[in-house]
Structure formats: C-alpha cells, structure tokens
Amino acid sequence: MNTVSPYVLEAINISKRFGELIALDNVTLKLRAASVHALLGENGAGKSTLVKCIMGYYQPDVGEVLFGDRQQAITQPHDALLLGIGMVYQHFTLIPNMSVAENIILSRPRLPLIIHWRKEMAELKRRMQGMPFQIPLDAPITSLSAGEKQKVEIIKQLLLNTKVLILDEPTSVLTPTEADEVLGKIQTMSREQHLSVLIITHKFREVMNFADEVTVLRKGRYVGSARVDQVSPPILAAMMVGHEIINTPLQRIPTTNPRPLLKIADLKVTDDAGVTALTGLSLSVNSGEIVGIAGVSGNGQRELMQVMAGQRAAHSGSITVNAEAYTASRAQMRRHKFHCLPEEPLRNACVASMSVADNLAFRRFDRPPFAVHNGLLNRKAITQRAKELIHRFAIKTPGPSTPVGNLSGGNVQRTVLARELADEVDVLLVANPCFGLDFGAVADIHQQIMAARNRGTAVLLISEDLDEILELSDRLLVISNGKLVHETTPEHAELTTIGKFMAGH
C-alpha cells in the first residue's frame, strides 16, 4: 500500500494570470500536518492569490491542489469548507449589519435549517471562554474597530473545528501583545489538536517565534522553503527581495522655530450607536513634529480620525489649523494642505471600482491641469500624473486604468500614500499606515513620514503598533476610553507604564 504523506495540503505547480499580469508562475507549496507554515513575500508577490487558489476562490490556470493524499476538486470555497479548510481573508468578510453571533453562525459549512438562538448563544458563550479574546456576541459588526473585526474573523475560524487554517495577514491590525496571544494560541492548537496552519505575514518576528516552516515567494515565483530554525530574518529578507538589504536609519532633523499648526480643543464625539467616543480630547501638534497616539483599538481613535477627515460631525469642541477654524471642507483641506491617510484605505480613502489613476486624482481632479476651466477633465494629464506616481511610489499595478480594488493590499495602501504625500503637506493625519505592508514598504513609509516631518509638516500619527509610535514620534500620547490619559516622549517612555495606561488602569 502507499505510504502516508506527511503533508495534509499540497498546491503543486500553480500558475495564475490576471489578464496581462502573471500573478503566480509555477508555484508549489506543501503544508505539513500539525505544523505552522509561514508564507512570505513582498506586497503583490502573489501570496493572497495562491491561498485563494487553494480555497477555490480563484481557479488556477495550471496546477492542482492535493488534500490529504488525494487530488481534490476544490472549485468553490464551499468545497474547501466541507473538507475542513478554513480561511481568514485579508480584507474583512464580516457582514457589517449583522451581529457577531450571526456572523459566527453563518460561517459554518453546514447550517441547521432552523437556528435555535437560545441554545446557540449558550453554546457560543461557553466556547468563547476558551478563546484568546472576548468580543460581545450581540454587538453589531459596524460598531467594531478594525482590530476587533480581525479578532472576530479569527474566532470564527477557531470555532469551526477546521483541520487546515489559512490566515491571510491575521495580525496586521493587532497590537504585538494581542498578536502573540493569538499566534501562541494557534501554535498550541496545531500541536495539541492536530491543526495545520498556513499563515501569511509580513512580520519576521512572528515567523521566527511561531512558525515551523516557511515558504518565500517573489514576484509570483517560488523562491524556496525552509525550516524556520535554519533561517534568520536577514536571510528571509534577502530571499524576499532577491538581494541583500541595507537599512538606512531614520534621520530626525531638529526643528527650528516650531509653531502650532493643528490644535484640537475639548473635542466631544459620539459613535454610530450614540455612545460617547471622545470625551473632551485636546491636543496640539507643532510644525516639524510627529505626535503619536498609542492605544488599544476601539478607544476613540477611529472617531477622531473620522472627524478630522470629515466623515463624522463633532458633538462639540473645536479644531483649528493654522489658527483658523477647521471643519474638514474640501476648500480648507486644500488651503491648509491638510492630508489624511486613514485606516482601511480601500474603504475610507478609495473608490474600489474606480481606476488607480482616478483614485490618485481625487485631491486635485477639479483643478488645472487636470480640469480645464470649463469643467471638463483632462484625461491625459490625469493618466500622465498617475504614471508618474505609480513609478515614484513603486505601486505594483497592471496599469493606471486597473480598478484600485484589484490591487494587492499593500499596493492599495501605497496608492493612497502616493496621493496624500506627493504634494507639499502642512498637516498630515495618519492612522495605522503600515497595516499589511511588507518590511521594505514599512521602512519606505516611515522614511516618507519622517521626511515630511523634517520638511516642517505637523504629523498626527494614530497607531496600534507601539513600536511604530516609539520609532517615529517626537511626543507620545496614550488614548483610553476616549481620553488622552498619558503623555511622554519616546526617550522617557516606560513600556510597563504605557501598557498600564493603554489597558485603562
């Protein structure tokens, strides 16, 4: 008889193209049973495409997927679910208008014809206790922050008793502590409950600490696989980009005669449910200064960002930019060179079905040279500028006319970054800018933000990644429950103190 294969899942010689673009070229990936396997690669390397081919979300042009020794025809995600393969997608698949409990129940491959909510809720509550984090089961998804949503996505899969769990950048929006908690739990589950995990991540720390094996892709090609104890981050980084990496440290130039550019005074804001999200927040940011706001997601950061970006009206309080009242109108944004980089850029800063060129033109499409004075658009200028920005910011896209929703996660982020940072900026608002970016892009964006600061831009950086805040900020604030509860500088910062304030003690 044939010997038992050590692999539970094999994707063999997979190729996939999207029109002209070859997203995957003859890629093979083998997932050992009861192990954690990391999949690495730069933004746009084809990682998401590969796992989507495995899940049956895409059909590979060439190649086959073997599941436990046998070739399985996975033609749609439902087949994969029935085989016990579960996936957390890079973009949220939760249904906003439904509750957490409904979303969890819905993910089952076989739903009972009639759902006995009382019984199910009791059961869910019981099983939630074994989960690495707690989310109120009857909260509507709309009321959750990005981090909380990601937690629900993961819990959803963990509750499904899947045999193979595929996670596409599950920790991008989690704080390092949360990420450790989740991955630790997943690692334990793989050992004790025979769970096989394929995890896409950009964080070497997570690969080194939690994975057993790693596969690297570069520009749609297979580069290599290795056991994690035989590689190191520099080796992995070199495999990802194809050459040695030289790190240039951030240059912080001392600011000469700073003046307050952005002032927020006693800002009170309510969230969608009418609950107070910000309880009288005040801060000011000087020119040539980066002020970082650290905090656990869901403590008012999202509402703050929305008010500044004009997506939400403040209840009371005032915002002044350049000593003038600011109400987030287009004219004011233009006059004060006020730019924003919100979280979840595909939702908050892009129109997914419009082209990269159009999305890049949002700030200035109605001004010359993009609009002629009779109100008509100059398509040629728009495309020309898009080409320039695509080149300058290294956006990987089939072309300027591709819908921005088709780009890889990291390239959507770059597109928005290109739009917001290409021109001169006086005030820059940034939220979780490196969510989902590869190490090269993170370094790149940090350089860009620092360069803007050095040119005299006032930067307000809201991030759930404390390391990022410590690295970039001149001044650091901690937000908790809609209030700023702590202020310090990176030099004087004590992690335990910050942690305590973040946790709300």
């Binding site: 208008n97 819905l106 909510w117 009206a313």
Partner: protein, 307 residues
C-alpha cells in the same frame, strides 16, 4: 349621536376598518419588496405585478368560480414576472432600477391588454370574517369585516421576521443582500438566491393585486391601482426592512388613506382632497423626522447601495 353614524368613535372605527382594508395590498406588496430587497436587489416593477395579479386573479376567479384559485393564479403571474425580472437583472451591465421600470410598464400593459374582456363580468369575492356581529351599527359591522388575506398577511409578516433571524435560508438570504463578496466566499450561489427571492417577492405582490380586484374595491378595471406598488417601495425603506414594521406602516398608510372617506361619512367634507393626500404627506413627514444625517439608513441591506 346623529344618524349619519357614531360620531368620533365611528370615525375611529371606520379608520381602523379602512386601515385593514386599504392596508392589505400595501402589506403584501411591501412584504414582497422587503423580501426582494433583503437579497440585495430592488424590484421597482412590483406595480406591474400588482396589476397583473389583479387582472389574472379576477379573470380566473370569474372563469372558475373560485376566488382562491384566483389568488393562487395572481400570485403565480407575479412570480413569473419576478422570474423575468431576475433573469434580466442577472445579465452583465444591467441595472435593477431600469429593469424594474421596464417591467412595471410591461406588467401593466399586459394586464390591460389581456384584461379588456373582464371589465364587465362579476367575479366571486373573497370571504371575510365578521368580527362586528355584536354591534347593531352597520358602520361598525362593515368596518370589522376582517378579510382573510389580511390575516394571512399578518401571519406572513411574523413568519418572515422569524425566517430572517431563525431560518438557515433567511440568514443566507440576508448574507447575499448584505455582501455579495462574503456570500461568494461562503460558496453561496448569489444569482440563485436572488432569483428565488425575486420570484417569491413577485408572488406576494401578485397576491396583493388579487385583493384589489377580488375584495376591495372588488372589481377589475384599469384605474384599479393608485400606485400602491410604487408606494410600497417607499414603505419598505420607512419600515427599515423589517417585516413587522411593514405590517405597522401598511396599516398606518391604510388608515391615513381611509381618513378622508371616514370623515366624509360623518359629514366633514371640507378638505376632502387634503385628507386623501394624507398617506403621502404622512410618508414625507415621517421620512423627514426619522432621517438622520449622522448615519446612513439603518437596516439597509449593504448591497442596495451598489445598485
């Protein structure tokens, strides 16, 4: 008390009775629209289904002598129109709204064409349950004749609310309506779910039409509907896509529409036309009161914003 009726309590009872009578077609069409929209598709053509249902139900009831068979055929004709609507909407680059308007014209036109010969004959009426037997006032008795379709509609509203929350297919239908991508990721056949939802919604609208011709006003002619099919679309928005609210708002609309005639019956005839406009004024008023600039329409299925 005067001999024209029972004064204000009389007006009240007449309005209540009218609410049920006028509200029933609203109820069926809005439930149908609610079901369709929950699956992420708008069917503006339900006015066509309504009129087609009225005509075919009347014709079959007249020919067979059974009003219930008429109701069934009315529903089926609506279902067929729904099928056609769904089929058209599934094509690439087709817009729900445009198809809906075309289907409305088509259904109405077809009904007028086929229904020419049924304008004169008298078909049997649908039965009602007399809850007003205790009273010796004719007004009260007439008002409390509760038609069976209304009772069915009420049960249906409750059943639908339950279905959306407790039944597997209810949850899947909502998923399709909320997020096409999430549904695809779950392996749900989006087209098929929408097809069934549109057909079922079309059926209900057809039944609503048969009420018009077989109960109240209770005959077939070309001026039978006064836009109930279109109003129902607004009504669903107003009911926040909740079947139970559909029931309440249908009654509210019905009651408002019955206000004018009821007042007239007690001798208040000033402002008759103004009172007839009550349902429309009511719609506008409540929409403005409940609208909020802070958040988008609560309860709206996510996919509708992409239509």
């Amino acid at each position: 008390m005067n001999d024209t009726g029972l004064g204000f309590s009389g007006v009240l009872i007449a309005v209540l009775g009218g609410a049920v009578r006028v509200g029933t077609p609203f109820l069926f069409v809005s439930l149908g629209e609610c079901l369709t929209e929950k699956s992420g598709r708008i069917n503006l053509g339900l006015e066509g289904n309504l009129i087609m249902g009225a005509m075919s139900g009347y014709a079959v009831a007249y020919l067979s002598g059974s009003p219930w068979l008429g109701v069934l055929v009315a529903g089926t004709s609506g279902m067929l129109l729904g099928f056609l609507h769904a089929l058209l909407c599934q094509q690439q680059r087709v817009n729900d709204i445009a198809v809906g308007i075309a289907m409305m014209m088509f259904g109405t036109g077809l009904a007028f064409y086929l229904g020419k010969s049924f304008i004169q004959p008298v078909a049997p009426r649908l039965p009602a349950i007399a809850l007003g037997g205790w009273s010796d006032s004719a007004v009260v008795r007439a008002a409390l004749d509760i038609n069976v379709l209304f009772i069915i509609g009420t049960l249906l509203a409750v059943a639908m609310a339950w279905f959306f929350r407790h039944a597997k297919w209810g949850l899947l239908l909502r998923t399709v309506g909320e997020s096409r991508n999430a549904a695809l990721a779950m392996g749900i056949n989006v087209h098929r779910v929408r097809l069934y939802a549109t057909m079922a919604g079309g059926f209900l609208a057809g039944v609503g039409g048969s009420f018009l011709s077989l109960y109240y006003p209770g005959s077939w002619n070309e001026g039978l509907s006064s836009g109930q099919g279109l109003m129902a679309v607004a009504l669903v928005i107003f009911a926040r896509w909740n079947p139970l609210y559909c029931l309440y708002t249908s009654l509210l609309f019905g009651g408002a529409a019955a206000l004018g005639p009821a007042l007239q019956s007690v001798g208040v005839s000033g402002g008759y036309y103004l009172f007839n406009a009550a349902p429309y004024i009511l719609t506008l008023g409540i929409m403005m009161m409940t609208a909020s600039s802070q958040q988008r329409c609560a309860g709206m299925p996510g996919e509708l914003s992409n239509v």
